[in-house]
Symmetry: D2
Amino acid sequence: MKNSLITVGVVGGTGYTGVELLRLLAQHPQVTLKTITSRKEAGLPVADLFPNLRGYVDLSFSAPQDAHLDECDVVFFATPNGIAMEESRALVATGVRIIDLAADFRIQDVALWEKWYGMSHACPELVKEAVYGLPEINRSAIAGARVLANPGCYPTAVQLGFLPLLEAGVVDVAHLIADAKSGVSGAGRKAEVGALFAEAGDNFKAYGVSGHRHHPEISQGLSLVAGNPVGLTFVPHLAPMIRGIYATLYATLTRDVDLQSLFEARYAKEPFVDVMPSGSHPDTRSVRASNVCRIAVHRPQGGNTVVVLCVIDNLVKGAAGQAVHNMNLMFGLPETTGLTQVPVLP
Amino acid sequence: MKNSLITVGVVGGTGYTGVELLRLLAQHPQVTLKTITSRKEAGLPVADLFPNLRGYVDLSFSAPQDAHLDECDVVFFATPNGIAMEESRALVATGVRIIDLAADFRIQDVALWEKWYGMSHACPELVKEAVYGLPEINRSAIAGARVLANPGCYPTAVQLGFLPLLEAGVVDVAHLIADAKSGVSGAGRKAEVGALFAEAGDNFKAYGVSGHRHHPEISQGLSLVAGNPVGLTFVPHLAPMIRGIYATLYATLTRDVDLQSLFEARYAKEPFVDVMPSGSHPDTRSVRASNVCRIAVHRPQGGNTVVVLCVIDNLVKGAAGQAVHNMNLMFGLPETTGLTQVPVLP
Amino acid sequence: MKNSLITVGVVGGTGYTGVELLRLLAQHPQVTLKTITSRKEAGLPVADLFPNLRGYVDLSFSAPQDAHLDECDVVFFATPNGIAMEESRALVATGVRIIDLAADFRIQDVALWEKWYGMSHACPELVKEAVYGLPEINRSAIAGARVLANPGCYPTAVQLGFLPLLEAGVVDVAHLIADAKSGVSGAGRKAEVGALFAEAGDNFKAYGVSGHRHHPEISQGLSLVAGNPVGLTFVPHLAPMIRGIYATLYATLTRDVDLQSLFEARYAKEPFVDVMPSGSHPDTRSVRASNVCRIAVHRPQGGNTVVVLCVIDNLVKGAAGQAVHNMNLMFGLPETTGLTQVPVLP
Amino acid sequence: MKNSLITVGVVGGTGYTGVELLRLLAQHPQVTLKTITSRKEAGLPVADLFPNLRGYVDLSFSAPQDAHLDECDVVFFATPNGIAMEESRALVATGVRIIDLAADFRIQDVALWEKWYGMSHACPELVKEAVYGLPEINRSAIAGARVLANPGCYPTAVQLGFLPLLEAGVVDVAHLIADAKSGVSGAGRKAEVGALFAEAGDNFKAYGVSGHRHHPEISQGLSLVAGNPVGLTFVPHLAPMIRGIYATLYATLTRDVDLQSLFEARYAKEPFVDVMPSGSHPDTRSVRASNVCRIAVHRPQGGNTVVVLCVIDNLVKGAAGQAVHNMNLMFGLPETTGLTQVPVLP
């Protein structure tokens, strides 16, 4: 029944970004979902794994070799790191466009990537042409991308929060602090003890303080905007909730500025960034299951420390929703197509 | 931009069924949301109370006297019990149709209602003509209703689970057991100690074992179907989750029957009831934020006890979604209009 | 500093029953904790795995061959099913007494055990002499046990709830229903997708409706008490909380009886069973981290269905606490020694 | 049976710090709990309100006028702010010692207190002599206190985390950042919409960014230690857990120092502060229901930003446990008396 424009394939799709991507694509008016691959689950109806999709996704998982991905207009990789880089070259050669929700194409410095991700990069030449898919910065480049590196969840929230300050040059970029909190779905649908309900529930903890893979991605993005290498302290935390990222950002002002106006002006035309009224405290549930990022900016006691509060749904604006947004841009659709779901509260 | 057919007013709307109703109406393609009243919050932008609605609902709460509800095609009451019965008579007289999400018109026996709800009924004559809005039973009557009594959350789940068994006459109706579990949003957005996070979190409890207001509503519905008064033991429980009702139903088979076929046949044409494959265990998240009811039927060890597992989202199929479904029926729209959101998982 | 009477070894101890057992033993005034074995974690300080034990348990995990378990007075097996049966014969031969927190010695019918647990039993002769460690039934036998089968969590709650009714012979034993809900720690500290926070959180589901390993254990216990095979429908559910079992039990009364008095009399002398006042609704948090079982008994609307509400902490009264209670009985200590912690609320 | 030394009264005691205080006092070997007052609940058995105390606390709430508090050795105020200051003068005059778990005596600058707490102080002269009950700083003064101001939960965690850095003079005190996260029990057992399960559950948010009552308390403490007014940015957050405070602290090093040694040396003799090994990430559950504070110190990428991670149970070390610790000091008992409970994990 759909007036289909875009034929879509999904590689992977058994994790949380996968099911969320399928939820969004199933409701997207301009998409035909052609195939979903999973080596492990080949043959299994997708809706058997994810019963929320019963009646919405009729496909079964295909073995990769049977998937005919080269017949798709675009292929999303909702895979662990290291898969997309193996398979993208051949697909791109046949004219398929790639949106990688993993990290394979996010870091321009391949050596740095290899250090943090612990593997050799299989496809450095595509890294070079890959476009970093943060629409609020890269909109025009995204439109023409053949290989789209969809940003990480923390990097999306942290960059969107710091962006207006760095662009305006009003803070000390040598001492940026990002205290970020993530829901447990950010750890993926992997059987790991640390993500068990009885471990992560009714509990709170920092992790990766000495170093986290999203640190170089965030630093790369912020440094590009600042025009100089930034000094960033990034402390991620695991919060006992399913979805959501809460980034509390701290920077020292170097000159006086009307922060509220600065943020409102910067994001006035952005369909998915909501600058809240002065004095607001966004909460993660206000963006649950939607592609919105909400931001509030504070200057406690009128001092020279600026505090930015920034929330996203890690699986939507931090992953699958942003990927669909990028697809819309790449195929010339209105940006919000298929992404207008109202957040679910409570 | 909408091709508007239905002008809608909402009375109340500051609670959880209210915000959920607004979420659904804001996305409904055939609705113009004209007014939302709240005596207490008059003047406050709705999106200030419920930030998930920012950009979707531009209205402010109106004082009831300024709301011009009589200019609406339909008015939803998302109010505490006892409000709709006061205001419906006048509205109905002007031709407005009423959908009451509270309990005022659910019980045909007014004396029984007055006993359980602890007040005199202000409008018994409308009780008589009110239609009980469980579409799976009352579809045709709903279409013509002027006053629609939207079912309670527990009653929706319990009735849908027992219905095929009672219609087929295959169980002992004198000994039905409904062990039901509800998320805490079922208690409403009221400041009560028992619903605090630190009370209801990481905790589980039964309540109202000696008697719960939904007991007479369920009994009324089941007895109508059975053609005889049923004997029902109903034990509600509070589970530490936000949304969802899980009804585990027990009955004794009086003759042999293919239960799976019975349930599948009964609900084959129902757009919002999903009978899962034999052996399934539905979970509440598989219907989160959607209007779907999922059911599985079991016969443990092949004995004569049938166990029905039935899940709904208490705020959607158990309240606002069912109300919109009823509105669709009342105004001749396709039943699923505005109700096709994919459940949100995880 | 302790006036030590009992030298204790623990086999396993890396799971939730293990850490809970260590918590209780570390505070027990009559215990010297001599050794904790774990093949996988040998060499690791116990407190590195479980930081709550820092300062309370100084041991490291030992490899089994280095553990000198034969020098202990009692060895607890906090292992997966199938380990204790392999190692108990040799230990018992040296005079060590065994408390198995797993299921190896719980079912007297070895063939039935083998069917449900999917392995051959390595030590049937010890099954015969093993004592089922539910103190409220087996107190005197426990005192002399060489091999103690510590009951499962569901079986503890369900048996304690039904016990007074069956002993008094006042219900129809052919149609008992146990609707039980467990916190996620009941699934153990195992890396399994179904127990992830993002799967089990904000969610509710039944499981194992067609059959659960605790069914034969419960049936065995209830049948012994009833003097006849009982007919039991047992439906376990997974609730989004860490600890706690909530058993809602249903039976049909066959004659009139003062239920409150019956329950109070039965448990008047039991230190760990608290019969709450008539009309009460126990909640799981009221027993959190303690060895107490709380019970309330209801007869809704004065009908012939009796509803028993029974709560325990699955890791304490349902596992480690009951094991320590049994140890106290086996070594002639006052029963409540080391088990007087006040439940933690909220 | 207790060899009783201290006769204790509790004013208030219907909130979470109250029930926690009762849990600890009921297990304290040197305490006789004489009376608990509550104007609202007078006559109600304490254990009816808090069923975890069944069998441990036999008292009923007394009306204040019937409580004979002047016969106590010490009276704990587990009341809202503003009560202790009204009642302390008379009690102190009779020789009763006071431990106030609220904020009445925490701030030495009465005008500042009045600004933040929105009332006139009823008893400024006792503020002057009141001792701030952070034992790690004030041990000797506490011993002689007649009026003890028990610290707030956030202030305890933030001060203990910054203390070694400030005492050693190794950080820029003009730019301290405390990003703190609290469980919902920190909001108290008050019926407020924001603390409902359906509001605070599966959600995360900052609050009070422009100013929080604990800010002046923390600043006062840190400034005393630093010998100079400090510049503190304090951002509290509400996390979806019941108990626990997680303070992530940031400061800029002004000279090189072995941070791990600094912290270990500072707290070597403190019974309730556990400096974890280098590289650790404490979690809140590792201190659940215990009086321990765990701290880890990091220097990410060897830069000049120090990150301190500090966890406490807000109801124990952040309230009732610290109060009992202070009582032990005031009455010459071993400090850990009654406070040796192993944290409850999971």
